[in-house]
């Protein structure tokens, strides 16, 4: 199967990973080898097989959507790298008009 260096760069962008050129080359080789190993799956006949996405045998349980206060909001905020009052600061996401 294999994977090209351009595909690796595209995947890194989708995965939001900065990827220096020399590392991209290593990943291309490693991922190609792993993807080649996966090729054996092609020989399995799965035409009439349903996929298994999790091992549970029952349906997703439903419950009332009740609001419960979280006790320690300060402890959550304390993990953020930049705060302004009780808000988390991030780089600007909209362009000024």
């Amino acid at each position: 199967m294999g994977i090209s260096i351009d595909e690796v760069k595209k995947i890194a962008h989708l995965a939001r990973l900065e990827l220096p050129e020399e590392v991209a080359q290593t990943y291309t080789e490693e991922l190609s080898k792993i993807l080649d190993y996966f090729a054996s799956l092609k020989e399995v006949d799965t035409d009439n097989v349903q996929p298994t996405f999790h091992p549970l045998t029952w349906d997703t349980p439903m419950r009332e959507d009740e609001v419960k206060p979280f006790e320690d909001i300060e402890a959550v905020l304390a993990n953020a790298s930049e705060l302004w009052e009780n808000m988390i600061v991030v780089p600007k996401v909209v362009k000024a008009p």
Binding site: T52, A75, A78, N79
Partner: protein, 491 residues
Amino acid sequence: MNSLNLNRLTIKRALELLDEGKISSVELTQACLERIKKIDPEVTAYLYVNEEWALEQARLADEKRKAGKHGKLLGIPLAIKDNILIKGHPTTCASKILQNYIAPYDATVILKLKKEGAVFLGKTNLDEFAMGSSTENSAFFPTKNPWDLERVPGGSSGGSAVAVACRMGLGALGSDTGGSIRQPACFCGVVGMKPTYSLVSRFGLVAFASSLDQIGPFALNIEDAALLLEAISGHDPYDSTSAPREVPSFTQILQANANSPFRVGIPKEYFEHELHPEVGKNIEEMISLLKRLGHEVKEVSLPHTKYAISVYYIIAPAEAASNLARYDGVKYGLRVEGKSLIEMYKKSRAEGFGREVKRRIMLGTYALSAGYYDAFYLKASKVRTLIKQDFLKAFEEVDLILTPVSPTPPFKLGEKTSDPLQMYLSDIFTIPVNLAGLPGLSLPSGFTKEGLPLGVQIIGPHFRDDLVLSLGYQMERELNLEVIPPILKAL
């Protein structure tokens, strides 16, 4: 109490001594802390030890006992894998991206252990985000095997396995996504159990691959493992995948089944795989032992075993790529500034994640991406169905299945780090169990000529964790092994 006692001290025995007033939890915790000071610099199993906190919990446990209060683990010092949240203490997942993260709440298993009076000594090392089979992928340092410091302890829960093997804690919790409890337990000569998927709540376990992850215990013997499992199991409204059913008393069932004969299946495909000769010899000995105990041993077939590694290394990275998308430098974790939001994401993730984590995120993103989803993720999920059906069919004929845990004894540090695929292949016998959601146990079963520990895996049908433990208990009694790493004998 002297540390020689610690070498043979089970949780069960410690509870008796505590109840009889012969030791206090403070003394017991102190002994474990001293052991950590002596041994941990050699094996580096712990990422975080907090003496003051541990002794405070121990004092509290002693007060409760004096006041006549009970708890299944009252005053017992434990080690916790560092991907399980304990409120007010670090949870790093052995990753730079969470290096400064302090858990704002308790995992459900931690709340349950607190309710039973357990004492937490600290947090143990792992492969970053539990991705690995040797604990060499920790961003901080590798953990070493106490039986041979040049060898790996297995992974990803290597720190927890070593903590118990060295008695730097009377028991421990780990997590198992493809063998991460069973393989290190096997490599370190302790009992490790991956319970049935959904038996133990994962709320507060940092997610790796949500359709596979399960928390489970490490212990010196089966009785202790059963006790720990009993304490952490049960339905949790905070985890929608947790099973809405009663938890049986595993410790009582062990005694009730102490002489029950089982039908035990040996999957022939597991022997078509290249087995290290000493692993092969040991499994033959275990089959003889089963017969001697009066169990019916028969060959079963799990024909899709050879596809398990491919299926797993598509599904687990795909789920990981989704789960780890949350580490973006915004709400918590490492933030590396960038000119734009996307640049901040990219820089934070590139610097915060280690090589194997990035490799798997890339692999998973690829397997889920437009044009490849059908060929990889969907195809793997269909073959997963066939792997699960193999087991269900086998369990029509047998009660339990016996296999090796790992195709080789513990390997050397650095031996497989340069070839990710070689590392992946070492999980061949444990991965199918996670794909099918079954309970699996690793039991110490002997030693190589060089004196390295070997282990055997017992697999059961869904929610027959009791049978898995029961057979383990019978085999353990019959084997009656002394499993103490040489490094401890000098103490």
